[in-house]
């Protein structure tokens, strides 16, 4: 196990060190102390490292992550794991706006609540939120799964494409072209897999599924009122 103190080396020092590790390094487990809410901690990692961040982080922690498993033992700021490609980012606390934005792959787990725009423009990432998500979550969500164990705010899934949304609690309102859909066996299986991966106790049968009505996929003037 290797430890780095952000207070001593700064964000640049940490990222530079993690980026420059050889691909086949044996130094796979890293602990980052004193993150102090700084931005862009452990972004752009491209190796199967295990990184524990002991405290709160600012914007874009784990941004564009590939292969690494990051755990944030605290709260996270805006854009956690934005554009993640693969690996895991796990927030033990709450996460601010745009968590998992445009993510292409991997798993983002937020044990607490996420704020607005969680999963915005998601492109294949799986996101499991233990608490609730704010308004405009999964806006223009293209692909992947968003699981919300609490409630969802207004305009969930506005202008959604092919992402799948699962919410256990209340949905304040659905956005344009987002509708409730039937839960089939494949969805229940997907949900079970995701809940298990996120170490959640909820049962798949407790969730409702939402997705695209696909009415806005090709522009028609008769749908103009929907925008």
């Amino acid at each position: 196990m290797n430890e780095i103190d952000l207070h001593k080396v700064g964000v640049r020092g940490i990222n530079s060190h993690l980026h420059n590790l050889p691909k086949n390094t044996n130094e796979k487990h890293w602990i980052i102390h004193n993150p102090m809410g700084q931005h862009s901690i452990a972004c752009g990692i491209d190796a199967p490292l295990q990184i524990d961040i002991r405290g709160h982080v600012g914007f874009y922690c784990g941004g564009m992550n590939k292969d690494a498993e990051l755990t944030i033992h605290g709260h996270a700021g805006v854009g956690t794991a934005e554009n993640m490609m693969s690996g895991v980012v796990w927030v033990k606390g709450n996460s601010s706006e745009s968590a998992g934005a445009t993510g292409n792959g991997g798993l983002l787990v937020i044990d607490g609540d996420a704020s607005s725009r969680c999963g915005i423009s998601m492109k294949g990432i799986d996101i499991v939120v233990g608490g609730s998500v704010g308004h405009m979550s999964a806006f223009m969500a293209q692909r992947g799964n968003l699981v919300v164990c609490g409630d969802a705010g207004d305009a969930l899934g506005d202008s959604i494409y092919e992402a799948r949304l699962y919410v256990k609690g209340k949905v304040a309102s659905l956005g344009a072209d987002c509708i409730e859909k039937e839960m089939h066996a494949e969805h229940l299986a997907d949900l079970e897999r995701l809940l298990k991966a996120a170490k959640r106790k909820e049962k798949p049968s407790e969730f409702r599924r939402y997705g695209s009505a696909r009415k806005l996929y090709n522009f028609s003037v008769d749908h103009a009122d929907a925008y």
Binding site: S16, H39, S40, G79, E97, S98, A101, F139, Q142, Y217
Partner: protein, 441 residues
């Protein structure tokens, strides 16, 4: 002689033929007109400026003998690896999706021969484009279509796109007919559906966040790559100042003549400012911050020839960027395709339904049969020829004004033909020492 002479039929200047046709079209279809390109209306432009040349008060350089530099270095503020271009003319961002893979390759080839950069677009980086472009700028757009850290690291510079001149404040739409299997896969979306591009970035809001976002991109790429910020010609003084504050190495400013792959005609023609009107406020913002020439300014939108290049540089710009003109050099709207343009209900020089994907020149299409009409090697050569001509023209003008580098051109080398252009460019009206807005009147 007692017959009353008839008055000639008189058409309205307000309700002209184009306006009438658009009312009829709207009434039939119920949909606003979508097209590609930039503003087509007549606007104050570089044609309204003239260079003074040299005589007794200024000393010229020998046209074919004395050196006149054209190189430009971009990204000197923060990047470990700034890029150096041989000429101050770059190729603007145009997406694979709106353009064929052949056209993107041709842009890369032409730019590389001429010693300049080309730019990806909203849809990711293709291997053809990366392979044929010595210097490639990777756009970071609100949609993040195709965005990934591997391509980010392969890029020579990163351009955070906030807006573009044809539609400042607007997103984009690639209509379903251009969404081939390959385009759809690169954008993680089903084939054949309209692909909207958001008008705002998904994970930052406002200039303070932009600074944090730029820092993230620097962290991911180890502070190596120049980071550009591209804006449309909305409020250039404030937007340039905020881009500099957010940490941009380079600001790209696109006026309303700058083209788009597709948007509403009403947006293109009625939102944003002309390129000429944007430059001086942008330069003033840089000067007031002490960042002129430290943060480089690239201007685009209606650059057509070496005179336009020289005039933009004289007003304080570091480099210009071309999109529409580059497509024309590749073969867009060529008169030899007139019969095919006629079959599409248009004429060579006016074809702008790029979103329909039926371009007979094989440039703004994803139809394999049409796209293969464009030979990327020959088209790339045409582009490089054109870039070289523009450069020679700009050098000719610079030497005539006594400048050993095109960047030494200055506003004092210019006069304006119209009061409007004099006011916008802040140079004297020809034959006077009057700069509107200065000296109290």
């Amino acid at each position: 002689m007692d017959k009353t002479p008839p008055t000639l039929p008189r058409k309205s200047a307000t309700f002209d033929d184009y306006t009438l046709s658009e009312i009829r079209r709207a009434a039939i279809t119920g949909i606003y007109d979508i097209r590609g390109g930039g503003a087509k209306r007549k606007l104050p432009h570089f044609d309204d400026l003239l260079f003074l040349g040299a005589s007794i008060s200024r000393y010229p350089l020998e046209g074919y003998r004395e050196k006149c530099g054209t190189n430009v270095v971009l990204g000197t503020r923060h990047a470990k690896k700034p890029i150096e271009l041989k000429i101050p003319i770059t190729i603007a961002g145009m997406s694979f999706g709106s353009l064929s893979a052949q056209a993107k390759e041709a842009l890369g080839r032409g730019a590389t021969i001429a010693g300049t950069s080309t730019t990806t677009g909203d849809g990711g980086m293709t291997p053809e484009e990366r392979g044929q472009s010595k210097t490639l700028v990777y756009q970071y757009l609100p949609s993040r279509y195709g965005m990934n850290p591997d391509d980010l690291r392969k890029a020579d510079a990163i351009e955070v796109v906030i807006g573009q001149g044809a539609k400042p404040g607007g997103g984009g739409m690639l209509l379903g007919q251009k969404i081939s299997d390959r385009v759809a896969a690169m954008r993680c979306l089903p084939k054949g559906i309209d692909q909207r591009s958001a008008c705002r970035h998904p994970d930052w809001t406002g200039p303070d966040d932009l600074e944090i976002k730029i820092n993230e991109l620097r962290e991911i790429t180890n502070w190596e790559k120049p980071i550009y910020v591209k804006i449309g010609g909305a409020r250039p003084y404030y937007d340039v100042a905020l881009a500099v504050k957010a940490g941009a190495d380079v600001v790209v400013l696109d006026g309303m003549q700058g083209g788009t792959a597709a948007t509403q005609e009403v947006f293109i023609e009625h939102v944003g400012q002309p390129t000429l009107a944007c430059i001086r406020p942008a330069v003033r913002a840089l000067q007031e911050l002490g960042m002129h020439r430290k943060v480089q300014l690239i201007v685009s939108g209606g650059i057509r020839n070496g005179a336009d290049v020289a005039k933009a540089l004289a007003l304080g710009v570091d480099a210009v960027s071309i999109g529409t003109a580059a497509l024309v050099a590749l073969g867009d709207n060529d008169p030899h395709l007139e019969a095919e343009y006629n079959a599409l209900g248009t004429t060579a020089g006016a074809y702008d339904d790029w979103h329909e994907g039926r371009d007979p020149a094989g440039i703004t299409t994803q139809d394999p049969g049409l796209a293969k009409r464009l030979d990327p090697v020959k088209a790339g050569r045409r582009l490089s020829n054109y870039l070289k001509v523009m450069t020679l023209e700009a050098q000719t003008i610079a030497r005539a004004n006594g400048k050993s580098h095109v960047h030494n051109l200055e506003p004092e080398d210019l006069c304006a033909l119209t009061i409007e252009a004099a006011a916008m460019a802040q140079v004297p009206l020809a034959g006077t020492d009057w700069i509107p807005g200065r000296s109290g009147y």
